[in-house]
């Protein structure tokens, strides 16, 4: 609900965006963002002066959503970054920093808005065309037959989030888990189009990161008391499952718009309960082993089912319904009457599990694309950060299927791209002469501008020890093994488009 707004006349002011005030606010934002960028970026604590939890992070999505920006222009910048992140998960900080840099440099050159727009569009086209072309030196095709490239990709995402507080060993563990979780969501036999499954992240806070694991199937959290009732689970080859989406609480819904008159002595509750028990009888006679309900089960029905060794779990919630119906192969039942046998599904095995202080019922599927990632970290803040990181990594891995191409990280791609632009512009300057398509004051300016604009300070990992590797890479045009993989091609191109658009506001 939007806040109530005091009625007052509008105030119009024409404030040039090149003013000192805007520049200063932009500078502050840039400072915040650049200092959190990269693996050795500093963490930010965002907290509310009135209380509440403190968010320790260096991730753009957490940072930008918690940071209250007041200036409308910054709002546009952060909103467009957030939208980019919600689409592509990663590279939020990079987008925002590049935006800030570009704006600053454009303002410094003092070109007219029309020129800047043309120039930006031209450079954008240059960059995207180059990145898309086969000749681009920073592109590496993803090799799905070996995990090396994908693992590199995940690792570079995990290492760039220092707020997860991971050691080297833990980083490796988490990266491997994420990759495993992703591979479990890929269906084994696909017909025409690939439909990826889902990884459900199950929280377990206060434990060692190395305790994190990934399981095929679904972990449903149950209370200890409930689990005791269920146990022992009889052994069988397959468990027959019924999944209800309709409420089994015995309430009477949908009686129509008119009135319903009930004569005295008639108990509708009994009538409905009778109906529920009939349903229970049918379930028992159909040899159903597990009954799950999205909503509430009537206690009597629950009792009845447990008497007949049928495991009953209710209040599953709408979020789990789709994965559950996928794992078990059931169709959610919406009827209290006769149930078609085709609606039942099955799971391969059903076993209780205990992780830390939490009890789970583990549904092991025959063959499904759903997996559960049990994620542990020492404290709440670090866990939140780790969860975001894992979601990001999983999303990025999904995107690799769309466009199986990655770019070199560690500032390689940016340096390379900047060099490419510089090369192009200088070529153009010598060959084109006066017939310049872009109306820019002088060739030299274009040269400086483009270089400054598109080069972004290389993030921290490119330390002196990486420098030789990098040079080697440039000279050989080959991939050196330890170079970080960073961005997906798709991501990068969209990112550049975004940056370009956002910067136009400052022209």
């Amino acid at each position: 609900m939007s806040r109530l707004e005091a009625k007052k006349p509008s105030l119009c002011k024409s404030e040039p965006l090149t003013s000192e005030k805007v520049r200063a606010t932009l500078c502050v934002l840039k400072g915040i963002l650049t200092s959190s960028y990269g693996p050795s970026g500093r963490l930010k604590q965002v907290h509310n002066g009135l209380g509440g939890c403190v968010c320790t992070t260096s991730q753009s999505s957490a940072l930008l959503s918690n940071l209250p920006v007041t200036h409308p222009i910054l709002k546009i910048l952060t909103t467009s970054t957030k939208n980019h992140v919600s689409c592509f998960s990663d590279c939020g900080l990079f987008t925002a920093i590049l935006c800030c840099n570009l704006i600053e440099n454009v303002q410094r050159t003092g070109l007219t808005p029309t020129t800047v727009i043309k120039l930006n569009q031209h450079l954008l086209r240059l960059c995207t065309n180059y990145l898309k072309s086969e000749s681009c030196g920073c592109r590496i095709p993803v090799d799905f037959s070996s995990p090396q490239t994908l693992l590199c990709l995940v690792r570079s995402i995990v290492t760039s989030k220092p707020a997860c507080m991971l050691t080297r060993e833990e980083t490796d563990h988490i990266s491997a888990l994420v990759l495993k979780a992703f591979l479990l969501t890929i269906p084994e036999n696909t017909k025409d189009r690939l439909i990826l499954g889902k990884s459900i992240i199950v929280p377990l806070k206060g434990h060692r990161v190395l305790d994190s694991t990934v399981f095929p199937g679904i972990l449903i959290e149950v209370s200890e008391v409930q689990l005791m009732k269920i146990l022992p689970i009889k052994k069988s080859n397959a468990f027959k499952v019924a999944l209800f989406c309709a409420s089994l609480s015995g309430d009477l819904s949908d009686t129509g718009e008119g009135t319903m008159v009930v004569s005295s002595g008639v108990s509708l509750e009994n009538a409905v309960l009778e109906q529920l028990l009939n349903l229970g009888r049918q379930l028992v006679s159909d040899h159903v082993d597990l009954v799950m309900c999205q909503k509430v089960l009537h206690p009597s029905l629950k009792q009845f089912l447990s008497m007949h060794q049928v495991i009953a779990i209710d209040r599953v919630g709408v979020a789990l319904m789709e994965p559950l119906s996928k794992v078990t192969g059931t169709q959610p039942i919406g009827s209290l009457g006769s149930i078609s046998p085709s609606s039942y599904g099955s799971v391969k095995d059903l076993c209780p599990a205990k992780f830390g202080f939490k009890h789970f019922l583990h549904l092991i599927p025959n063959e499904a694309t759903i997996c559960s990632l049990l994620l542990c970290n020492r404290n709440d803040t670090a866990w939140d950060e780790l969860k975001l990181t894992c979601q990001t990594a999983l999303h990025v891995l999904q995107l690799t299927i769309k466009e199986p191409c990655v770019l070199l990280g560690g500032g390689c791609t940016e340096t390379h791209l900047a060099a490419y632009i510089r090369h192009k512009i200088s070529n153009r300057r010598t060959s084109a002469g006066k017939n310049h398509q872009l109306q820019v004051p002088a060739g030299k300016d274009v040269h400086c501008l483009s270089y400054k604009k598109w080069s972004i300070p290389a993030p921290q990992p490119m330390t002196s020890c990486h420098q030789p590797e990098l040079l080697w890479f440039f000279s050989n045009g080959l991939l050196f093994k330890t170079i970080l993989l960073d961005f997906l091609l798709l991501q990068k191109i969209t990112l550049l488009c975004f940056v370009c658009w956002t910067c136009l506001w400052f022209c």
Binding site: K75, C87, V261, V266, L268, N270, E274, W505
Partner: protein, 713 residues
């Protein structure tokens, strides 16, 4: 305490208000216009270049401002274009009126005619003017459009050029080309045959919201066109199907309920309840089974269906989409010619079932949001397609949506015939009685001054004077010499197709004038003296051209001398009116860049010269000058050859020498849109001028019998 506060004079207030609005909107006008950023106290940010959007976003308090905005909105709803031009034009008109009124009052004071002054004051000067405006709008404007302007119109309209020009003023500079291309492609994809394009415009305009999907977080260049219809919701149940997929639409729940509205269901026993529930279940099952037997694979419902229905539908391989909006339902009905499925009351009537086929029916995922994608088979000339509009932020997507919708509205108006009706040959003169003519002759003095004053404002120099006089003479000479003759005009123009226009050829041009007259039925005889005097008039002025510019003043006076007797004569003779109706053919366009405004300005100025009535000519003059405000804003940032004075002079020169007007811009704009805009502005102005007091009350208006407020005062 005083309960009421009154503010006098709406025109003055209106001028102040519109001037404020003008300063905001004029910077968004034209291809060079910039975007405006509005912020709300709630933190929301609005990015826009669209005038309508900005006006509605402003929290305007002043009643006149609110009225103006309401006028703009209603104009936009109809035509989808011209909000910014509306405000700028209105502002210039009000400004023009003020200067004229001030001048007139001054001159009256200097002449010390107390009675007149009182007359002006008492007889509501504004009302006079507003009546004159109405006359102008209903008669003069149509006449000028039909007689003079229409020959400049181009009828070969290129959709690309039209749209490019339109989006130039509506969306950001880096996107306008892409968006206009997108819309062009969309239109051609939607059009089944050449003849059915009007239906496409109608349908897209009516159901625009349903035909586009906004996606945030992707660059604008990812926007695309998808064949088929995208419903803005997910399947409740999805069963993959191919082959012959039949669909039905329902508007009520399939499952029978215990009691319908306004009825009672009496329950006497538990068994009765159970049987009725059983019956409901069986009935639902039977209906779904029946649908399955009809090969129905998709059930579209405008209401939420109970769980039972979706369950049985899923069992029978029927996909279900629930909660469709009424617009979506009516769009599907219109495209497919499918009427909703009426639930059979008795079980025997199952055979009657309205179904239709779709090519495909599948889920569509756009940025992790799921939609329903239907391949409708169209029975009309609209082939359903959807636009997926992407943008980094929601505001930009909305801006593009608004612009696209506006463009469809604009095209819809453009491809409709525009009816013009007016009375030929100064029928107004019948309204004016002799005392007014008497007044006119005296008040004609300030008139030329205004002409010169207003024309000289934008630039200085000798060119102006030449122009003024040239314009005067060439009105008659040039008019029918233009080569572009729209079809409507053809019948009247055939006898005078190629007049040689040179300053000496005055008699020949008079011939053309006479040629024109006979077509207008019986007024020929009455008009004879009028034409004669015109010829006299023009000869006088033609000689004036040959004389050096110093002598121009003399000829002008001579011209005026000629004019006066004419007026008296025509007053006596033109007693009969004849109505003339003509149509501006659909698809008339003009090059962008203020061409329409300059042309209309030119012809209006000419018209005022031969016009006999003071109010009429004053009003025409004000409008003519106000029109120039638009190109002035458009060319504000241009320098040198493309500055406004240069372009203005060039255009006028071309008009006088009857050369084709060379426009520096390729884009085109709709004539009908401009015409409608002008009439809307004039209506709004008339509305403003008829108000004389703004009363600010602090409470709700009460019933008449309530005496309390009076006593308090």
């Amino acid at each position: 305490t005083l309960c009421t506060m009154a503010a006098l004079g709406s025109a003055k207030a209106a001028l102040q208000v519109t001037e404020v609005l003008e300063t905001i909107l004029s910077r968004c006008l034209g291809p060079e216009g910039r975007q405006v950023l509005c912020t709300k106290p709630t933190g929301e940010v609005l990015i826009s270049r669209s005038g309508g959007c900005l006006l509605e976003a402003l929290h305007l308090e002043h009643p006149i401002a609110r009225m103006v905005v309401a006028c703009v909105s209603s104009h936009l709803r109809r035509t989808g274009d011209g909000a910014k031009t509306f405000i700028i034009l209105l502002c210039h008109l009000l400004r023009g009126l003020h200067t004229v009124i001030d001048k007139e009052q001054d001159s009256l004071i200097s002449k010390n005619i107390q009675t007149h002054r009182r007359h002006w004051k008492n007889c509501c000067q504004w009302k006079f003017i507003s009546q004159a405006l109405l006359t102008f709008q209903t008669q003069i404007l149509d006449y000028i459009m039909d007689h003079y302007l229409s020959k400049h119109f181009l009828c070969r309209s290129s959709l690309e050029l039209l749209l490019e020009a339109y989006f130039c003023g509506r969306v950001g500079r880096n996107n306008h080309y892409f968006i206009s291309q997108l819309m062009c492609n969309y239109f051609f994809k939607c059009m089944a045959c050449e003849s059915g394009f009007e239906e496409v415009f109608d349908l897209v305009d009516d159901y625009f919201v349903e035909l586009n999907v906004g996606v945030t977080g992707l660059p604008v260049s990812d926007s695309r066109i998808i064949a088929g219809l995208v419903l803005h919701r997910d399947f409740s149940v999805y069963c993959p199907a191919d082959g012959d997929i039949r669909i039905v639409i329902v508007t009520e729940t399939i499952q029978p309920l215990f009691s319908a509205s306004a009825s009672e269901f009496i329950l006497n026993s538990e068994a009765q309840f159970q049987t009725s529930q059983f019956w409901i279940m069986e009935k639902t099952k039977a209906i779904v089974k029946h649908l399955q037997s009809q090969n129905v694979k998709l059930l579209l419902s405008s209401v939420k269906q109970p769980d039972l229905v979706t369950y049985y539908a899923g069992l029978n391989g029927i996909s279900v989409v629930e909660c469709l909006s009424p617009e979506e339902v009516s769009l599907i009905q219109r495209v497919m010619g499918l009427s909703p499925f009426i639930l059979p009351q008795a079980s025997s009537q199952y055979e009657i079932c309205n179904t239709a086929s779709v090519k495909f029916c599948k889920p569509l995922t756009l940025r992790s949001k799921r939609y329903v994608h239907l391949g409708l088979i169209s029975t009309c000339s609209f082939v359903p397609h959807c636009i997926v509009l992407c943008g980094p932020v929601q505001g930009l997507v909305e801006q593009h949506e608004g612009a696209l919708h506006g463009a469809f509205k604009m095209l819809r108006q453009l491809f409709k015939d525009l009816d013009l009706s007016y009375m030929i040959q100064t029928s107004d003169q019948n309204h004016t009685s002799s005392p007014l003519t008497y007044k006119d002759s005296r008040e004609s003095n300030p008139l030329p001054e205004i002409v010169n004053g207003l024309i000289q404002r934008p630039y200085q120099g000798t060119v102006v004077k030449n122009k003024g006089n040239l314009a005067k003479t060439q009105t008659y000479l040039k008019v029918y010499s233009n080569l572009v003759v729209p079809s409507v005009e053809l019948e009247t123009c055939i006898p005078c197709s190629t007049p040689k226009v040179t300053p000496t050829d005055t008699y020949q041009t008079n011939e053309t004038l006479r040629c024109l007259a006979p077509t207008k039925t019986r007024t020929i005889d009455d008009n004879e003296p009028f034409i004669e005097s015109n010829s006299a008039n023009s000869t006088a002025e033609n000689t004036g051209i040959e004389i050096s510019s110093e002598n121009l003043q003399v000829t002008k006076i001579a011209g005026k001398g000629n004019m006066l007797p004419v007026r008296e004569k025509s007053l006596e003779m033109c007693t009969s009116q004849s109505y003339c109706c003509s149509t501006l053919p659909a698809g008339c366009v003009l090059p962008v860049g203020g061409n329409f405004e300059i042309l209309l300005h030119y012809y209006l100025l000419n018209y005022t010269r031969k016009c006999q009535q003071s109010e009429e000519s004053v009003v025409s003059m004000i409008i003519a000058n106000a029109l120039l405000g638009i190109p002035q804003v458009l060319y504000k940032s241009k320098k040198g050859k493309y500055s406004f004075p240069q372009i203005y002079i060039r255009t006028l020169h071309a008009l006088q020498t009857s050369q084709p007007i060379v426009s520096s811009q390729k884009g085109l704009e709709s004539v009908a849109g401009k015409y409608q805009l002008l009439t809307s502005v004039l209506q709004c102005l008339t509305k403003i001028l008829t108000i004389d007091l703004v009363i600010n009350i602090r409470r709700q208006p009460r019933e008449m019998y309530d005496q309390d407020s009076d006593e308090e005062v």
